[in-house]
Every structure is written in structure tokens, then in C-alpha cells.
């Protein structure tokens, strides 16, 4: 009994096309060189719009490396070149790229965490950002002058010894997981959108507390948050020609990479295990799952806590990166944002989710701002009501809508989910018959199956006011 478990095939991603090793290398090289050498040429004027194009174009090589059929060494080479050379180089020459890349990775990790909850276990959590807040405030309070305020001990004017940063990552993981369990215990028996709205509410509760309590310094937020002291890395950064104010970002870049790697491994390993199967099972049919021996509450709690713990760890890193946190960074729109990354990218699929995070973050922090800067400088004296910068969110909204209409299954869907989608483009039957509506009587009726045990919550327009469950007596 030593046969290694083989992954059943519908979950494998199929590489696209024939062997494209050289194409991949060529693409990477060209886009990388373009990015590095054109960056000063496109620094100004309308040409600025090329910045996101070049950067995005280069990032695409990572996607191609993942998707195309190519020699493994070439793929590794592309990843290594990007992560070790090109990206840090860009960061060095332009701090805002550094900031952007780290933010992308933080969101990727958040999206991966939420992916476990929503993508794998099917629990709609609209308050996910609360766990991020737990991590951020945990370190924020201890690792900043706020600690002196809280303890009333001026010895802590700069917070506790920043070396404790390392301790606070696992602490935040534990704390977020703990909060996840605490919140999960009472609410995880709720179904579908009831869960969504309660988690949304809980997210808001945590934010409101942060805004009103004095440990969190209320709306003023906490500033001067420390990061871990890593002198050797700093001197490495120095040798590599990074500016002093980039040292922290350099360190965090490496740290976040590490955390993402761990996140991916955990995500993948759980997905491909008894627990992962149980998550899919409860997502598809709670009653059957339970009747096959899956303990519902425990399994859901595991998903909730695991997802939360990633957010907790990332919170610590976010606090260290921003050096300032306040309740605004944790409002419900942030939860929605992470949710849109997961869905846009492709629920349940790790590369898809990361892609979603990168696309949305890049759109928000690079493409749209650049666009409005270009427009602003082209029309400096425009009527106040027509100001171009105001279309940022509008465009973001349009992008969301069109991306979903164009690829409802996400940019890189998981094979499993793709199947569930059953978009049936070729011949849209009157109402395309999906697995769900075949077995459960419609996507909507399928909602019925959200019931655990046997309780279901009246999904559709609720029926009668009086309780008429059974007929006349016999």
C-alpha cells in the first residue's frame, strides 16, 4: 500500500498549446527588457499610460509560464528571473512599484485565505477583512508608540522591541483563527446569505469597535508602527543599491513571498486531502455530506479558522508595511474587494485567485490612477463636475461587470468549478441545464440544499404567514 495517491484528472489544469519553451523565454526576456529600459521614457505625459502596459505585460510572462506548455526549467527560470531580478530591480528604481508589488502579494494572500472559505467550503463571508484587522491591530498596538499609551509606561515610547515581530506573526495567526472560531461557532449554522450578512455585520462590529475604543486609538489610528529589525538584510539591500527608505519594503517583499509560498502550500495541501473533499462536499450538498460522515460544524470551522489565520498573518505584515493603520482600512468595502478578487480570478483555483488579486490591485493602484493622472494633466482646467479622476470607480465598476459577463467562471477557473458553471455557450438552451438545476431543481431551488441537517430556510419569496406545514390530520 505505498501507491502515491494520484490526483483524479478533472482537476488537472491542461497546459495550453504545443511546446512553447522558447516563445516563453523570448516573451519574458523582451517584456522584461522593455520594462526595465523603457521606464524612464514613459515617465511623463500621455506616455505614462504605457507604464501599466509594460508592467502588466511583464507580469503576463508569469501567467504564461504557468499556463503554457514549456520545459519545467524554462518555467522555473522565468519565475526566478522575475522574482529575484526584474521585480526587485523595478522596486529599487521606483518605490511605488515596490509598494504596489507588496500590496498585490498581500491581497493575493488574503484572497487565498478567502478562497478557502468561499471557494472551497462555499461559505459566503463578507466580513473577512475583520481578521486582517485583528492581525494588523495586534501588531499595531504592540509595535508602536500606542503601546506606551495603552500601558501608560513611557518606557514603551517606541512600542515593544520590534524583534517580537517574529513572534507576532504566529500570534496573529492564532488570534485570528481564535476569533474565527469564536465568530464561527454561533453563526456557522446559518445558511447561505444569512451567513453572508451576519459576517458582514460582524466585520462592521469589529471596525466600529476599532473606531471607538481607546486601545486602537479610535479614528485617529495608530502610526509609527515598527517592522522587524533585520540588519543583515538591510546591509544586503544597501549593497544592492536600494535607498534607505526602501529597506523595509525590501525586507517585506521577501517576507511576503515566503508567507505566500506557505499559504499556497497549505491551500493546496488542504484542498487535496480529506478535509478539502469534505469542504467541497458540504458546499455541494450539506445533507449528503453529513450523512456520509462529515461533521458539518467542525469542517466549516476549520475552513473559517484557516482562512482567518492567513488574514491574521497578513495583517501584521500590512501594519508593518503601512506603518499606520486606522479603521478605514478595514471597512466592508475591503471585504467586498477581496471577494471580487476571488471570484474574478476563479474561485477554488489557486493561480486564478492570485491572478484575480493581481488584476484588481493593479487596476486600482496603477492602471486607474495613471489613467486619471494622464487625463488630469491633459485637461488641467476642466469644469469641476467633469473632473476625470472621478471616473476611477466608475471604470472599476464597468471592468467588474464586463469581466464577469465575459468570463463568469473567472479568469482562470478551477476545472471543477468550470464544470459547475456549465456555461453552455454553444447552444444556450432556454435555460441552460446545469448540474445544479438538474439535481436540485434549479440554481435557485438548489439553494434549498443549503440546509444542514434538514432545516432549510425559506429561500424564495416566503410563503404563507401561518404555519401550514402538514395537512389535515388523519
Amino acid at each position: 500500500m505505498t501507491t502515491a495517491p494520484v490526483r483524479p484528472n478533472p482537476l488537472k489544469t491542461r497546459p495550453v498549446g504545443g511546446d512553447r519553451t522558447w516563445l516563453l523565454l523570448a516573451y519574458t526576456a523582451i517584456s522584461g527588457l522593455l520594462l526595465v529600459f523603457m521606464r524612464d521614457l514613459v515617465a511623463d505625459g500621455p506616455m505614462k499610460m504605457l507604464q501599466p502596459v509594460l508592467f502588466g505585460g511583464f507580469l503576463l510572462s508569469l501567467l504564461f509560464a504557468y499556463q503554457w506548455k514549456a520545459a519545467p526549467w524554462a518555467k522555473m527560470l522565468v519565475f526566478a528571473a522575475a522574482i529575484v531580478f526584474v521585480l526587485p530591480f523595478m522596486g529599487r528604481s521606483n518605490t511605488s512599484y515596490f509598494d504596489l508589488m507588496i500590496q498585490m502579494m498581500i491581497f493575493s494572500a488574503l484572497a487565498l485565505g478567502l478562497n478557502i472559505v468561499v471557494g472551497l467550503a462555499g461559505l459566503l463571508d463578507l466580513g473577512y477583512i475583520a481578521f486582517f484587522a485583528v492581525g494588523a491591530y495586534l501588531w499595531g498596538i504592540f509595535g508602536s508608540p500606542q503601546f506606551a499609551e495603552v500601558t501608560g509606561n513611557p518606557a514603551f515610547a517606541g512600542g515593544i522591541n520590534p524583534a517580537y515581530f517574529w513572534l507576532f506573526i504566529p500570534l496573529a495567526v492564532a488570534a485570528a483563527a481564535g476569533v474565527g472560531v469564536l465568530i464561527g461557532l454561533p453563526v456557522l449554522k446559518l445558511k447561505g446569505d444569512y451567513l453572508a450578512i451576519v459576517t458582514l455585520g460582524l466585520g462592521e462590529v469589529i471596525r466600529i469597535f476599532a473606531n471607538n475604543l481607546s486601545v486602537t486609538n479610535g479614528p485617529q489610528g495608530i502610526d509609527a508602527i515598527e517592522s522587524a529589525p533585520v540588519p543583515w538584510l538591510n546591509s544586503l539591500a544597501h549593497t544592492l543599491g536600494f535607498a534607505e527608505d526602501q529597506y523595509r519594503l525590501f525586507f517585506l517583499y521577501i517576507l511576503v513571498l515566503g508567507v505566500i509560498a506557505v499559504t499556497i502550500v497549505v491551500n493546496q495541501r488542504l484542498d487535496r486531502s480529506k478535509i478539502g473533499r469534505a469542504w467541497i462536499a458540504i458546499r455541494e450538498d450539506e445533507v449528503a455530506a453529513q450523512a456520509m460522515g462529515v461533521p458539518l460544524l467542525k469542517t466549516k470551522l476549520l475552513a473559517f479558522a484557516t482562512g482567518a489565520s492567513f488574514a491574521g498573518a497578513m495583517g501584521v505584515i500590512f501594519a508593518a508595511k503601512q506603518a499606520f493603520i486606522d479603521p478605514k482600512s478595514f471597512d466592508y468595502f475591503q471585504s467586498i474587494g477581496v471577494m471580487s478578487m476571488v471570484i474574478l480570478g476563479g474561485m477554488g483555483n489557486i493561480p486564478g485567485v492570485i491572478l484575480g488579486a493581481i488584476v484588481v490591485t493593479m487596476l486600482n493602484l496603477m492602471v486607474l490612477p495613471t489613467l486619471s493622472e494622464v487625463l488630469q494633466s491633459s485637461f488641467p482646467n476642466i469644469n469641476q463636475n467633469l473632473d476625470p479622476s472621478k471616473y476611477q470607480r466608475l471604470i472599476f465598476g464597468l471592468v467588474l461587470v464586463f469581466m464577469m459577463l465575459y468570463r463568469p467562471e473567472g479568469l482562470l477557473p478551477s476545472e471543477r468549478r468550470k464544470h459547475e458553471m456549465h456555461s453552455d455557450d454553444e447552444h444556450p438552451a432556454v435555460d441552460s441545464i446545469t448540474t445544479e438545476n438538474l439535481n436540485h431543481g434549479g440554481e435557485l431551488g438548489g439553494h434549498l440544499r443549503d440546509g444542514s441537517g434538514v432545516e432549510t430556510l425559506s429561500p424564495g419569496l416566503a410563503t404563507r404567514s401561518d404555519n401550514e406545514r402538514t395537512g389535515s390530520e388523519k
Binding site: D44, A243, K328, P369, Q376, I382, N383, S389
Partner: protein, 362 residues
Amino acid sequence: ATVVKIATISPLSGSNSNLGLQIKNGAQLAVNEMKAEFAKAGMTLSLVAYDDQADPATGTAAARRAGADKAVLGVVGTLNSGVVIPASAAMAPSHLTFVSPANTNEKVTDRGLKNMNRICARDDAQGPAGADFVMDNLKAKKVYVLNDKTPYGQGLAEQAEKQMKEKGASIVQSEGVAAEERDFTAIITKIQALKPEAIYFGGLYGQVGPFAKQLRDKGINTPIIGGDGFDSDDLTKLAGSGANNIYFTTVAPPVDAVPAAKNAAAAFQKTFGSEIQGFGVMGYDSAKVLLQGILNAYKLNKNKVPTRTQVETAVRSGTFKNLTTGEVKFDKNGDRMTAKMYVIAVKDGNRSTAGTVNVIRK
């Protein structure tokens, strides 16, 4: 010619965008005005406007983007103290100078950053000034204090409350209401029961307007006092029939009080198709301070385009004139040494100056 830019960072979208646009357009006006002078010195001047969405994280990212653009020599901004605190800290190592038109929280300058300056009054000047007005002019002894749970509103209300307490007023209640809230049923019920003689509200006109209206609708005519957050023409429009018995402190002079402001107002109206308001005036002045600072640094740098560090020093050490709000000179922390603060009264929908206070920092 070398390209030289200044940036504005302010909320251009979202519900604070009205004020953010004022700052941006005020600065744009100053840039338009001084373009020629820069051109003479061989510099092509332009403005880049960044949107911070009133969000600290977005604002910091915007500051980093500005920082990455080597042609940007300084920033006018932001609107919200919560944004400027982390953004200026992030830019401190690269010496990117901020001249703030609107950030009143003490922490903004109390951190002692070299690159952070402001031309507006601090909360601990505004708050006490408002408090003094409540007690000395309105002769109120029972005061209800409300804030909008933003860094600005809360900080300001705290300062005012502190001063009033010191002067022996009784604070019947001090509490908060979310900045987005527009329904004041509960608060008004409370005010009816507590019967204060004055209401101090640390918040913005967008919220105060409806509050005043709802309050007056219930027949309560208690005076409402606040800070520069009230400074918008829209306050009276939003309050409608309730625009009565409202007072606020601000550094921005009433447009008709200063001749310089009148010209700016006319130009603003012509260029952007809407009226200039307090924050537009402040944005205009901040940009002028920054631009004059750059020119000073230019001269010191032997008529070459100055470095950011040089601009930083020049702004901190210079004396700036020809502004709508009077002369600007910064102290060691970047606070304005002397400023005139106005107390504006709103009566029957009309604004008038109810008094002035001279703020002097040592």
C-alpha cells in the same frame, strides 16, 4: 526647459470629493498664475493631481507615486489628517515637502517631520477658539459635544471640550456619530432631553447641514459651533431653513474680506465653473507657498532646479507673502507662526464675520 511639477493629494472621488476638488483646483489656479514666472526661470511648471479617496492606504500609495516621479518637488495636501499622517511619514526619507491646506490634527506637525508643513490652524488652536466663543460670546454654560468619529472631528471636539471644561462649562454629553450618518432622530431626542445651551460639533458641513435642518425643524434653536469643516457655502444650502445660529472657526478668510481672495475667486469661477470655497482658498495659498519655496530654493541653488531637500529647507525657512490668508512663516515643526482665525456666523442663511482671533505660535 526642465519639467517641474507639484502634486496635489486629496479626495477627488467619494463623498469628500467636493472639498478635495477645491484643494486641487485652488492649487491649479496658483500653478496657472505662476507658470510664467517659472518659465522665465527655465522651468516648465505643471500640476499632477492624485486621488486619495480620503483613505490613508490609497493616500500613501498616491504619495509614493508622487515620490517616484522625480519631477515632483512638493505636494499640496491632503484634506484628511488621517491621510496626511502616514503619507508624509512615508515621504519623509525622500524629503518630499508637504504643504497642507487643511490638516488640522496636532499630530500632523507634532511628529517633527522636516517635510510636513501646514498653513491651516491646528485643532488645539481652533478647538479652544471655538470654545472661547461658546463661553465668552454665546455665554453658554451647558454644552453638548458631538463629533463625527473621524480623526478630524474627534480631535477637534476633544480640544474644544478640554478648553470648555477648563473654563468651567458643564459638558452634558460628549459623543460621536458616524460621519456618513444623516439621520439625527436619536441625537435630537437626546438634545431635547438634555437641553444644552450650545452644541459643539466636530464635523464637516455635509453632515452639519442636515443636522441643523433636522434640529431646527423640531423647533430647537440652540447654537451650533464647529471648525473649518463647516467652511463651505453648501452648509447654508444643506441646512436650508435651519441655517441659523451656526458658528465656525476657520483660517480661510471670507472671500469678500480680502481683496486678493476676490481675484482668486473670480479666476476660479471662470476656470472651473464653480465658486471657490474655503478649501479652494487654502489650496491656492498652499500651492503658492510651495511654489515660492521652490523659486527661493532655485535662487539659492544658483538658478538651477533645486533638489527636494533644498525645497524642503526653503519652504520651512521662508517667509511667504501675497497670499489671501496673510503672511506665512513656519515654526520648527512646520506650523504657521501667526495666522488670523475668523469666527464666521451663519444667520438666516447668510454668513458674516463674528470675530477674529490671532493665533501665534512660539
